[in-house]
Amino acid sequence: MILKVENLRKYFGKKNIIRAVDGASFEIERGDVFALLGLNGAGKTTTIKCILDLCKRDTGEIIYNGRDKIAYVPEGKELYGSYKVKKMIEVAKHITEGFDIDKCLEFISEFGIPLDEKVSSLSNGQATQLYLALVLSQRAELYIFDEPTWGLDPVIRNKILDTIKSIPLNGGTVFYTSHILGEVERVADKIAIMHKGKILEIGFLDDIKGSYCAVSIEKMQSKSRSEELGTYGYLYKSTESEDIYIVKKDYAQERNLDFQPIPFELTFEALVLGQKDQGEESNEVR
């Protein structure tokens, strides 16, 4: 295990009304690509900031078992706009322990970023690639990427995802956040789904994908079954004749219900939207 987060809490606002992270716990094993998935505002960035000590946590424990500093690509990819790319690399070398400037220049050349260009003149994609080059040239055991492909075109996005996916091949570990499910399916081995500061589901991506299914119930067939599913499942669709619920596969199997496999997007939707706010009737998928 390279990183362990235990019961992390971070509240904001008067009387701690905003529960950005509310008891999140997870572990990342060495060599994994671990993705933290969630809607915007789920608490992913705050979790990362607490791990990196950019934010002070209210409670909880964070154990990092690496020797080197954690490498981090933030959501905004903010670099020094007034510097030229060359100067930005020099500064990164100066302030980063174990920075390999030759490796960085290789990445820059591969990405086709002009060295004499000002950072502020780079396109969004180039700026992300520059940030990535700086971070990947750093000696690190854990790389954290916060929404690394935000605002990028598909070609650059794919390049970046391939680069991220190759990190474990060189002995690194990746902690990755995104709300784009397709990306996560492509890159991650293990995922955690976060919503309103809480971890709703955690495990291997394939296990989670396979553990939920769709069950359709004819409306006239059984009112009591419908009511039960309304409590234990997430009502995905309702037509004149039938209701389609998303439930745990174990639940459907135990009750001998006919079920259909569902794409990962539906599992995510059921988990996230099945969560009601405090005080509302719970519609948690079981």
Binding site: L52, L54, A71, Y72, P74, Y80, I95, T96
Partner: protein
Amino acid sequence: MAKEFYDLRVRAITVLAITIILFFVIAPFQKLSVSMLEGYTDNPAMEKFMPKGFTERLKEWNFYINSQWYGKNFGQIIPIIGIIIAFPLFSREFESGTIAFLLVRRSRRDVFISKFLAGLLVTACVMFVGSSLPPLYSLIMSKNYDLDLYFKAMLQSVFAGVLWYNVGMFFSTIFRDQVKPILASLGILALTTTVGFLKGLRFLNTYPYVLCSKVLESGTIDVPYTIGVVAVSIVLVVFSYGAFKNSEV
């Protein structure tokens, strides 16, 4: 610290250039100033503002350059220079989001020390160069100059500049944009100067110290005030570090 000096270069060169320009606005014009003031000697309204014999004393180079430079042009901009050097030190990093780039690579202590020391060094250098202009100019123009007074004025200028640098740095650590630190620092400068006119609160007005009043009047450093300035500077550095250490990105 190389990055910090690189970031400070434009501000340092600008304030240095302004300082030198301000010096050359007065230094070569001693005769012109004296002749202009002599034109007012018979004006009763001017007596209120000009002590008797003042114009005569201005004919003496040491008195002219010291009173016009330390006691006026340079003195007036010392707090502004300190604030200008300090206000973006931390706030610009927070405003642009680049603070995360630093903090994931270096400890907060290292980031604070390198920023603080780089700014401090630049402020002290500008103060040193600014206050050294009268002896340098005198040397080049072959004028007699009293160096004893220069050392005292230079020392006070450096301490005063550093005090206002620390005020600016403190606000730079607590605000997340660049406008508030400069406004707050200038607000404090205006407030302390104004309140300092009240009896019993004179110590709050730093201008008599900044303008080297005691040095020019009696030829001695204001030691108790210097100790106070150093003490307040240390307190401000401690508070700035505390604010930065606990700041959230």
